[in-house]
């Protein structure tokens, strides 16, 4: 299955949830937010939300800014 994460194309084996995607990418779950096809995902849904072919995922965190 092919998805896009932060604009980068990724090949995934099998069907995985958002939580599993974060684990595979070795990203911390704390203080990040995830958007799927332009809709923000509630953290409560990360375990049950399964990714599908062509999904566009944005994962954001915080950096210095003004």
């Amino acid at each position: 299955m092919r998805i896009f994460v932060n604009g980068e194309e990724r090949e995934l084996d099998g069907t995985i949830s958002v939580t599993e995607l974060l684990e595979r990418l070795a990203l911390p779950a704390r203080r990040v937010a995830v958007e799927r096809n332009r809709s923000v995902l509630s953290r409560a849904d990360w375990d049950t939300e399964l990714l599908t072919e062509g999904d566009r995922i944005e994962i954001v965190h915080f950096v210095g800014g003004g």
Binding site: N6, V34, G66
Partner: protein
């Protein structure tokens, strides 16, 4: 004298809001934050790097600081709204500094897109603090849309040019006496901050003027003092300007 800064129902002692960008390192940033006396800091929302090199920037902030996420880097209302929603989900805060930029050279705000995004976000329960160009009519529209404050620029972001628009800021203050006005962007040195406060701004938001100073901690303290001085001066009421002199010592009675 108690002169608290009230913003969206929250009380602040400091009228200085500062950024977290451009510091040479986190230690320098923390020291500057402490010296500034600020109680609220801005942060930006950004894609996480996928190379596994993430560190939690927020851990370097004083936990007592209120975090104000921004929508920097957004060039239309839709991206700004999406960014605000992501920030709220990640931080659990309704507060957002709304910033919709019109072009990458000047980084001047797109007021029309900003207003559009503000309307959507206010309906969704956000506390929207909009950065915008110093236009009185747009300020009124943003307030009518439900923004608890407006944040006109004094000069382009990161320019350090100082207050380029004293007349517009004064008009905004006089025509909107009850509005909360936060001057955001353009301050370079403490005298700029003092001028903005003397013109009646309720608070000032700055980043580069402190972060890019040779000694950010010292500059942060200077900014704190300037904001306080400017505020006191505004509350004191300035003397009128005159074209000609007005003697301070009695002219009559001088020896001949």
């Amino acid at each position: 004298m108690s002169d608290k800064f009230l913003l969206a129902g929250k009380e602040f002692s400091s009228r200085l809001i500062i950024g977290t960008g451009k510091y040479r390192n986190y230690e320098e940033m923390r020291a500057a934050h402490r010296a500034s006396g600020a109680e609220m800091v801005t942060v930006a929302v950004n894609r996480v790097p996928l190379d596994g090199k993430t560190e939690s920037f927020l851990d370097y902030l004083d936990p007592a600081m209120q975090i104000l996420p921004n929508t920097a880097g957004c060039f239309d209302a839709e991206h700004a709204v999406r960014t605000a929603r992501l920030a709220r989900e990640a931080l659990g805060t309704e507060w957002i500094k709304l910033e919709v930029i019109g072009d990458p050279i000047t980084l001047l705000p797109d007021n029309e897109q900003t207003l559009g995004a503000a309307k959507v976000l206010v309906k969704e329960g956000f506390i929207v603090l909009p950065y915008f160009s110093d236009d009185l009519i747009m300020a009124k529209k943003l307030l009518d849309a439900g923004c608890p404050a407006v944040m006109p620029l004094a000069a382009p972001i990161g320019s350090g040019l100082g207050v380029q628009n004293p007349a517009n800021l004064r008009i905004m203050r006089e025509q909107l006496p009850d509005a909360t006005i936060i001057v955001d962007a353009g301050v370079g040195v403490p005298s700029d901050a003092a001028i903005a406060m003397e013109l009646g701004a309720d608070a000032i938001l700055m980043n580069t003027a402190i972060a890019e100073a040779g000694r950010p901690e010292q500059m942060a303290k200077a900014m704190k003092l300037a904001v306080e001085a400017g505020r006191l001066a505004y509350l004191s009421g300035r003397m009128p300007k005159r074209l000609y002199a007005s003697a301070s010592s009695p002219l009559a009675g001088a020896i001949k």
